[in-house]
Amino acid sequence: MIEALSGALHHIFTVKIFLMIIAGLFGGLLTGALPGLTATMAVALLVPFTFTMEPTEGLIVLGAIYMSSIYGGSFSAILVNTPGTPSSIGTTFDGYPMAKRGEGDRAVLIATFASVYGGIIGVLFLLFLAPPLAKVALKFGPPEYFWMAVFGITIISSLASKNIIKGFIGGAIGLLISTIGIAPIGGDVRFTAGFSQLQGGIELIVALIGFFCIPEALTMIGQRGKKFHLTEAKRKKGIFLQTFKDVMKKQGNLLRSSILGTIVGILPGAGGSIANLVAYNEAVRVSKEPEKFGTGIIDGIIATESSNNAVVGGGMIPLVTLGIPGAPPDAVLYGVLLLQGLRPGPELFTTHSHVIYTFIISLFFATIFMLPVGVIAGKVLHKTVVRLPVRFLAPLIIFLTIIGSYSIRNNITDVYIMLTLGVLGYILKRLGFHPGPITLGLILGPIGEAGFVQALLIGEMLPNKWMIFFKSPISWILIILSLLSLSWPLFAKKLAKEWKVKGDEVEG
């Protein structure tokens, strides 16, 4: 391994490769920041360009694009309250309030540091612990996926602690929307009201753009007296170093979120969309001041952004060791590997070790380069959004939503769906239902349904088919986690009171 590593380092340190990484980073960052163009799309779009390159070079560029498009999603989350990719949903919760206060540049810096940190942790796991960790991917069968979805839904209790009933209704609405179209198991067509276009269901990204972006744009239009969207705070001196110190003080949060991200990344089919919310949830639960989450605090951004970039390394663990893609963009990378004649699996580490180690090492460097690239791009984007008058910003946001929802499946129907959901989302928001829980339901619906029905079918072998849900230790762990998560608000209120009492005493 050492030999392969030094060979890889030798391979990477050329000007050409470095330039390619930087170009890939910028490209990925912009695609990630545009709502609708996700990491999967960014990677798939650029696959043809890699055909003309050597296999290793192609992989290096794609890796850089993947890493930075996940990070780029945080820009739009922070600046316009719209996750650029599903991996940044949680970043809107604290990033946007921070930007509204005039601390947008600080929020972007926090996201940058956290993303680089998380990315590095993920890659380190990939480099050193891939084979043992890959086994986790196989431990998850249908019942475990079902319980994971249940656990995911219980996160709502900490996302929507102000009105839990409304939060769960939002989640149920999201779950229900996710069942539109072909049933994942069985193949019947459901709830399409006769529209053949709805067979494919409602694409997550389309719903995401609709529920987050359109209400935001409509609110801007509704408050048309306001000239600018965000207030621009006076730039403080030494903000870069100060923020760096602030972020690095949160080692517990950074490490916890990165490890969670890596683990979720390993699970096939889950990916950053789930990882960032799980990490956010855990950050809220561990925190001593959970009520401050959602008001624009540093911990929220750190949790989501470090975890989603850790997914990149994590998702590649089962890919390179077992040939099973972890997160969705990994499936595209898998296709590229196959086309280049490299079959992922153990032989990749033996016969093609130079390719794979070069790739991993380049991913490591790409993550580090993300720091300067991100700081520059973040500054420019932040300035643009802050200085662009609302009369231009709001129409341009709508324009981007149209392009974004169209280009996912090249389908004009998706644009109509996006806008309809957007209007619905605006009404729901006025009624006190927030987009977070709804999208959580949308993400988890397909995973939960497939797991649930598959488990029931497999369970037919048992005397009682429902017993299948309680057979494995992982199922029990997830059940206990769900119960804890669900009852957390009860504890939280109590704890908050206790802390408050203590705090008062100190003050008094």
Binding site: F168, A172, L176, A183, R190, I221, G222, S407, I412
Partner: protein, 148 residues
């Protein structure tokens, strides 16, 4: 006011859930079991919200500032027309027309000829740049019509 809205919305949700339920009747077991679970959950939660709306005395006054609904409705209509015409007029043509009209809508009181012209010019440039970057360079398919 807020509570009344909750009450009405709870009833709407229950009705929607019932409509969905009737749609599950023709499906196989493995296709209806999961949606029905969700529907039960939705109905129970909505019922809880309905009941809650009677007991909760006062809700904290909505922090949301009042939006000017008239402009929101107009702009939603503009966007729907835009989408309908995007495959007829083409990406750039429709983009310039509707982006400009949205900008004008947001700036009705202060509109001058100079602003109108500059806005249109800016959008033409932005859209062409966008079109070249995406359509020509990245090969992202964009909606096309009789014009570009």
């Amino acid at each position: 006011m807020k509570l009344k809205a909750d009450r009405i919305f709870a009833i709407i949700l229950i009705l929607v859930a019932i409509v969905f339920w009737t749609q599950t009747k023709e499906l196989q077991y493995k296709c209806y079991i999961f949606p029905r679970l969700i529907l039960i959950m939705l109905i129970i939660l909505s019922a809880v919200m309905f009941v809650q709306s009677f007991f909760k005395k006062s809700m904290p006054k909505g922090k949301l500032p009042k939006d000017n609904l008239k402009y929101i409705v107009i702009s939603i209509i503009i966007v729907f027309v835009w989408i309908a015409l995007i495959n007829v007029l083409g990406f750039i043509t429709s983009g310039v027309i509707f982006l400009s009209s949205l900008t004008f809508l947001l700036d009705l009181q202060r509109l001058t000829i100079k602003k109108v012209v500059s806005t249109i010019l800016i959008y033409i440039l932005v859209l062409i740049a966008f079109w070249i970057a995406f359509h020509k360079f990245l090969l992202v398919p964009l909606p096309t019509g009789h014009f570009i």
